[in-house]
C-alpha cells in the first residue's frame, strides 16, 4: 500500500521554501517528500475506505487533481478558468464532488529516524550527536522519569497535593528543547517538565514549586507542576487549556518586531487542540506571520477521552494546511526525529517569519494526573505494550548501547544517583517554610491597592484574634 511505503517519509506540506530548507539540512534531506496533487486521486478511494466512510459517489474519486499547475488568468486552452472571488483562487470544476474528510492524499506520514530497537533506519538522518550530548539527553530523560516516580509516590502519601507525570513523553520534551535556542520563549501546557530540565531548571526548583514553599518564585500560589522560569524563558504554566496558544503567537509577533532572531515554541496536547483558542492561535499566527512553533503532543488521550471522541480528521497535523501553516508529523518516541523536525521548524520560523506545526505522536503511559485512575477507561495491557515495546527512553538507550556508549552498570549507577539526588532535594523542599502570608495579597497588581491593604489588615486582625486556629508557624515571617 502506498500509505505503508510513505510512512517512512516526512512531509512538510505546502510551503516550497520549507521543503527546500529541509532538503538542505543534511540530516533530513533524503526523506523529505512533497505531497503532490497528481498522487491525490490514488488515495481518495482507499483512504475513505480506511476511514470506514461510505462513498457518496463512486465517480467522485479525484477532486483536487490538476490544481497545482494552474495559474490565475489563463485561458481555458491553457488550463481551467480560475475563480476571481477574493476569498480563494481556485479552478472551476463541472464535477459535483465533495472533498473527502481530509484523507484524499492518505494520512500524513509520521517521520522517524530510529526504530523501536534503537536502530537508525537511514544514516543520513542521524543527527550524529557527540557523546556528551547523547548522555545529557539520556540522563535528562531518565532523571525526569525518576523525579516523576518519587513525586507521584509523594502525592499518594499526601505529602504534596497534586502531580502529573511525564511518562512516555520524555523524548518530545528533550528532542524539541535541544533543537531550540535557550533564549527562545516557551509557552507550555503542563506536561513539558523535560523542557525545563533540559534548560537547567534544578531539582530544587521543581520541588520548591510542588511544595509551595518560600523558595518557590511563584510564591506558592499555583498547584504543583505549574512551573515557570524567567531565567530559562519558560512562561509560567496555567491550568486553562490552550490559552497559551494565541499568547505564544502574540509573543512571537513581538519577537519578530523586536528583530531578536528568536522563535517562540508553544506546547499543547491533542485534547487542548479542540479548544477555540487553538483555532484562534493557528489563524492569527498565520495571518500575522509570527515565528511560532506549535508543538502538539498527541498522546492518544485527554484524561479519559480517546482521540476518536476528540476529532475525526487526520489528527492535528492535517489542520495545519487549512491555516496555511507548514506542518510535520513526527514519531514522538524518537528523540532524534523530534530534534530534526524542531530544528528545521525553528530555522524556518525565524528565517521566514512563519508559524510551523509539529504533531508528535506518542502515548500517555501514566495516569492523566494523581487525581485520575486510567484503568477505568483503558486496558493495562495497552499501557504495558508501550512501556515494554516502544518507550522513548528505552529506544535511546538501545541506540546508545549499540554504540557502546551505555551499559547496564552505567544504567544502575545513574538510577541510583538520580534517586538519591531527587530524594535529597525532595526532603530539603519539604522542610522549608511556606511563603510569607503577605504574599496572598502581593502581585495581584503591580502595587498593593488600598482596598487590598485594608483587606490584608482585616485578615491579620482576625488571625491575631484566633492564633491557635491558623497555622501561621508554617509560614515565613513577613
Amino acid at each position: 500500500m502506498l500509505q505503508a511505503s510513505r510512512s517512512k517519509h516526512s512531509v512538510f506540506l505546502f510551503h516550497p521554501m520549507f521543503n527546500q530548507l529541509i532538503r538542505t539540512l543534511p540530516a533530513v534531506a533524503s526523506r523529505c517528500v512533497v505531497a503532490r496533487a497528481s498522487a491525490r486521486s490514488m488515495h481518495a478511494v482507499s483512504a475513505a475506505a480506511l476511514a470506514g466512510k461510505p462513498q457518496i459517489n463512486a465517480s467522485a474519486a479525484a477532486v483536487t487533481a490538476t490544481t497545482a499547475t494552474v495559474v490565475k488568468g489563463k485561458t481555458p486552452a491553457e488550463g481551467p478558468e480560475m475563480t476571481l472571488y477574493p476569498g480563494a483562487t481556485a479552478p472551476f470544476t463541472d464535477k459535483l464532488e465533495f472533498l473527502r474528510n481530509g484523507t484524499d492524499r492518505g494520512p500524513i506520514p509520521c517521520y522517524r529516524i530510529m526504530d523501536r530497537t534503537g536502530t537508525i533506519l537511514d544514516g543520513s538522518q542521524d543527527p550524529n550527536f557527540d557523546t556528551a550530548t547523547l548522555e545529557k539527553m539520556y540522563v535528562t530523560m531518565s532523571r525526569l522519569n525518576v523525579m516523576d516516580g518519587i513525586l507521584y509516590e509523594s502525592q499518594r502519601q499526601g505529602r504534596i497535593s497534586f502531580y502529573m507525570t511525564n511518562y512516555g513523553e520524555e523524548a518530545t520534551h528533550i528532542g524539541s528543547a535541544a533543537a531550540l535556542d535557550d533564549r527562545d520563549m516557551v509557552f507550555g501546557q503542563y506536561r513539558e517538565a523535560g523542557v525545563l530540565m533540559w534548560r537547567g531548571f534544578t531539582l530544587d526548583e521543581f520541588m520548591n514549586q510542588c511544595y509551595s514553599n518560600s523558595k518557590d518564585p511563584g510564591k506558592g500560589r499555583q498547584m504543583p507542576v505549574h512551573y515557570g522560569s524567567k531565567r530559562l524563558n519558560f512562561q509560567t504554566i496555567s491550568s486553562p487549556l490552550a490559552t497559551q496558544m494565541p499568547q505564544a503567537a502574540g509573543a512571537a509577533y513581538a519577537f519578530k518586531r523586536a528583530g531578536n532572531g528568536l522563535a517562540v515554541i508553544c506546547y499543547f496536547g491533542e485534547g487542548a487542540a479542540s479548544e477555540g483558542d487553538a483555532h484562534a492561535a493557528f489563524n492569527i499566527a498565520s495571518t500575522t506571520d509570527a515565528p511560532c512553533i506549535f508543538f502538539c503532543r498527541n498522546n492518544g488521550y485527554a484524561i479519559s477521552t480517546p482521540t476518536r471522541d476528540q476529532y475525526r480528521g487526520d489528527g492535528i497535523a492535517s489542520r495545519g494546511a487549512g491555516y496555511g501553516i507548514d506542518t510535520i508529523r513526527v514519531d514522538g518516541n524518537d528523540v532524534f526525529a523530534v530534534y530534526n523536525a524542531t530544528k528545521a521548524a525553528r530555522k524556518f520560523a525565524v528565517e521566514q517569519n512563519r508559524p510551523v506545526l509539529i504533531e508528535a505522536m506518542t502515548y500517555r503511559v501514566g495516569h492523566h494526573s494523581t487525581s485520575d485512575d486510567s484503568s477505568a477507561y483503558r486496558q493495562a495491557t495497552e499501557v504495558n505494550r508501550w512501556v515494554k515495546e516502544d518507550h522513548p527512553i528505552t529506544r535511546l538507550r538501545l541506540y546508545m548501547e549499540k554504540k557502546g556508549l551505555w551499559d547496564e552498570a552505567r544504567e544502575q549507577a545513574l538510577k541510583k544517583e538520580a534517586r538519591a539526588q531527587v530524594l535529597d532535594h525532595f526532603q530539603k523542599a519539604e522542610t522549608e517554610l511556606k511563603p510569607a502570608i503577605k504574599h496572598l495579597f502581593t502581585d495581584v497588581f503591580d502595587t498593593v491597592p488600598l482596598h487590598l491593604q485594608r483587606q490584608q489588615e482585616e485578615m491579620r486582625a482576625h488571625i491575631a484574634k484566633y492564633p491557635a486556629d491558623y497555622p501561621t508557624q508554617l509560614y515565613e515571617k513577613d
Binding site: Q235, P240, P246, Q247, A254, D446
Partner: protein, 379 residues
C-alpha cells in the same frame, strides 16, 4: 453648560452602518435631532486645566485616536490591533494610524475575540505594549477566559516572574439609541469581579485621552470602555499634548451638600442634568462624582462625599442586579452607616437584555434619577 446638537445617527444595524460611516460623515448632522432625542442626554463639556497647554476641538473618537497616536510615536514597541482597525476602525478611532506608524504596528486581526486578547497578552508578556480593540463591548465575552483567567492572573500566578501590564483592551460600550441586544451593553461589572484587572470608563474627550494614556502606561492589564454614543457627539477643547489622568481616582465634577450622585461614562451627563433639575425644582444641591475607574475604585472620595451629604444615588446603564452600583452601595452603607439619612438608591437598567424598541423605557434617564432624589429627600 452647552448642549450637544451634533449627534450622529446610527442605524438599527449599528455594525454595518458604522462601517459605511466614514463615507457618510457629511450627511450625519441631518439626523442630529432624532438621535439626540433617542440618546436622551446632553453632553456637559469641561474646560481643560490651563497647565495642560494648547487645546484643540476634538470629539471622543478623535481624543482616543490622539492618545494612541502619541503612544505609537513615543513607544516603539507599541502596536494597535483588532478587527477592522487598519482602515481606521468602524468608529474611526484608529484613523490614519496605520498610515503614520506602519502596517506592522496598526493591523487587522482575524475575526476572533479570544485570539485578539490572547495575542495581546502574549505581546505584553514578551515586553511589548499591546493595545487591542474589541469592536463592541458586547463581543468581549469570547475573550472573557483570556481576560479573567489569564490577563488578570498573569502576574499573581507567576510570582511576578511574568506580567502583562502592557496590555490595554479598548471596547466601545453603552447605549447608542438603537443598538439592541448586542451593540448596547455595559459589561463593566463582570470585570470588576476579577482581581488583577483594571476597568476604566471615561466621560468625555479630555478624560478619554488622559485616562487612555494612563491605562496604556499602567503596569497592569486595563479594560478601557469607551461610551460609543459620545464618539462623535461629545466635543470639547482637548489638550494636544501628552498628559495622563490618574486611575483609581474619582472626580468631583460638581460640589453639593444634599445628595451624592455617582456614575460613569455617559451616565455622568445624565446625573449632571439631574443635578440641575433637582436644584431648579427642589432646591436640592447635588454633589456629582465621576467614578472614572470602576476597579480598583476610589472608595474614599465617595465615602467622604456621603459623610457630608448623607444621601447616595448611584446610576448605571447596566442591569441592576449584580451591577457595580451594588458594590458601591454595600461598601458605603458599611462605611457611612451612621451618616446615611436615607436608603442608598440605585437607578439602573432593568434586569432584562438590552431591548431595541423599548430603549427609552429601559434607560436610567434624568427623570428616573430625579425621582430617586425626591424619594431620598422625602424619606
Amino acid at each position: 453648560m452647552q448642549s450637544i446638537t451634533g449627534l450622529s445617527r446610527l442605524s438599527s444595524r449599528v455594525a454595518s452602518a458604522v462601517r459605511m460611516g466614514a463615507a457618510r460623515q457629511q450627511s450625519r448632522s441631518f439626523h442630529a435631532s432624532r438621535a439626540a432625542h433617542a440618546a436622551g442626554f446632553n453632553f456637559y463639556p469641561d474646560v481643560a486645566p490651563a497647565e495642560l497647554g494648547e487645546t484643540k476641538k476634538m470629539n471622543l473618537y478623535q481624543a482616543v485616536n490622539d492618545a494612541m497616536n502619541i503612544t505609537l510615536a513615543t513607544d516603539p514597541t507599541s502596536v494597535v490591533f483588532g478587527e477592522d482597525v487598519a482602515f481606521g476602525g468602524v468608529f474611526r478611532c484608529t484613523l490614519d494610524l496605520a498610515k503614520r506608524h506602519g502596517a506592522d504596528r496598526v493591523f487587522n486581526s482575524p475575526l476572533c475575540e479570544q485570539g485578539i486578547v490572547g495575542f495581546g497578552i502574549g505581546m505584553a508578556a514578551a515586553g511589548a505594549t499591546a493595545i487591542a480593540e474589541i469592536q463592541f463591548a458586547d463581543y468581549i465575552f469570547p475573550a472573557f477566559d483570556q481576560l479573567v483567567n489569564e490577563a488578570a492572573k498573569y502576574r499573581y500566578r507567576s510570582g511576578d516572574l511574568f506580567n502583562v501590564g502592557k496590555l490595554t483592551v479598548r471596547a466601545p460600550c453603552g447605549a447608542v439609541g438603537h443598538g439592541g441586544h448586542y451593540h448596547s451593553q455595559s459589561p463593566e461589572a463582570y470585570f470588576a469581579h476579577t482581581p488583577g484587572l483594571k476597568v476604566v470608563v471615561p466621560r468625555s474627550p479630555i478624560q478619554a485621552k488622559g485616562l487612555l494614556l494612563a491605562a496604556i502606561r499602567d503596569q497592569n492589564p486595563v479594560v478601557f470602555f469607551e461610551p460609543k454614543i459620545m464618539y462623535r457627539t461629545a466635543v470639547e477643547q482637548v489638550p494636544i499634548g501628552d498628559y495622563t489622568l490618574p486611575l483609581s481616582q474619582a472626580e468631583i465634577v460638581q460640589e453639593g451638600s444634599d445628595v451624592t450622585l455617582v456614575g460613569w461614562g455617559t451616565q455622568l451627563h445624565v446625573l449632571r442634568e439631574t443635578a440641575k433639575l433637582a436644584e431648579e425644582k427642589l432646591g436640592v444641591k447635588c454633589e456629582v462624582i465621576d467614578l472614572r475607574t470602576i476597579m480598583p475604585w476610589d472608595v474614599d472620595t465617595i465615602e467622604k462625599s456621603v459623610n457630608k451629604t448623607g444621601r447616595l444615588l448611584i446610576a448605571h446603564e447596566a442591569p441592576l442586579s449584580g451591577g457595580f452600583a451594588g458594590e458601591i452601595a454595600s461598601t458605603i452603607q458599611d462605611r457611612c452607616f451612621l451618616r446615611l439619612e436615607a436608603p442608598i438608591q440605585r437607578v439602573c437598567g432593568w434586569d432584562t437584555p438590552f431591548p431595541l424598541i423599548f430603549e427609552k423605557f429601559y434607560m436610567p434617564d434624568t427623570l428616573r434619577c430625579f425621582e430617586a432624589i425626591k424619594k431620598m429627600i422625602n424619606y
